[in-house]
Amino acid sequence: MGRGDNADLVVVWRFLDEAAQRVADLGEGQDHDAIQSARIRIDDSIRAAIRAAGGFPRWVRPWLDALLLAVVVWVTATLCGLVGLPSGWTIAVTVLVALVSLLPLFRLADALRDLVNRRGLGPPVPRAASPPTSTVPGEQLLHVLVAARSALAVVMRRRIAAHPWGSAARTAAGFDLLCQRDTRLHFASLADRCVCQAIVSVERWLRTAERDR
């Protein structure tokens, strides 16, 4: 995915970020499950959009995990040696520490991956002072989400056009195959599906609010 594609993803990210802020404002003091569901879906779509930006190749991940584990093992063994533990205890303690640290290490690797991917999208931007197209906050949120979907469609179309097997996407099955093979297209399509769920949740919330009025 080239620079141009990431520029498209920056647009997506800004729309989704604005939607996240708007849904947080809407959800304040409200316990409606539709608005909570919308919030979760928007968070999911932001995460997926960040992963769609790439920047952290898939092959790097196992090496990063191995490197972090090696550092933990080396530090533990060195500390055991400094304390003066016998070899058997050093091995036992090192294995135990390595096992216990597996989950935190994977979380650290996840955080590093997200950081690298987010850097590909540039610094976070302040909330845009866009002119409201509707006076109802829920409807404004819907417009932002629909705009995010349009931007995601541009990202997917460009990704397909730039793909060496892009012509396969002329059929639905080919598009599905490309989504499975191409990590960035997969996450862009996942973000799009999450945005669809957020849109429907917001519409459900609007209908409920209208009925309760």
Binding site: R157, A172, S189, R193, Q197
Partner: protein
């Protein structure tokens, strides 16, 4: 239970595939976002049901919260 959970997972996979097919159609502007949402939500619910039958070892607190929200506790 394992067989039922496996079938639920397989059906969820089919629903996700159907959602992706609808996305493909949507790129040419013929499918409403509600169709994609319902298929994706169906996949989520099926996965949630399968997880309730056989909770995955790595189920996160967030996944469980999502299941709670979707199934209404």
């Amino acid at each position: 239970m394992t067989t039922i959970a496996a079938r639920l997972y397989a059906t969820a996979e089919l629903a996700t595939r159907a959602a992706v097919y609808c996305q493909h159609a949507d790129l040419t502007g013929t499918v409403h976002d509600h169709t994609i949402c319902r298929l994706e939500s169906a996949a989520d619910w099926l996965k949630g049901a399968a997880n309730q039958l056989l909770p995955p070892a790595n189920a996160s607190r967030r996944q469980l919260t999502e299941g709670y929200l979707m199934f209404g506790g």
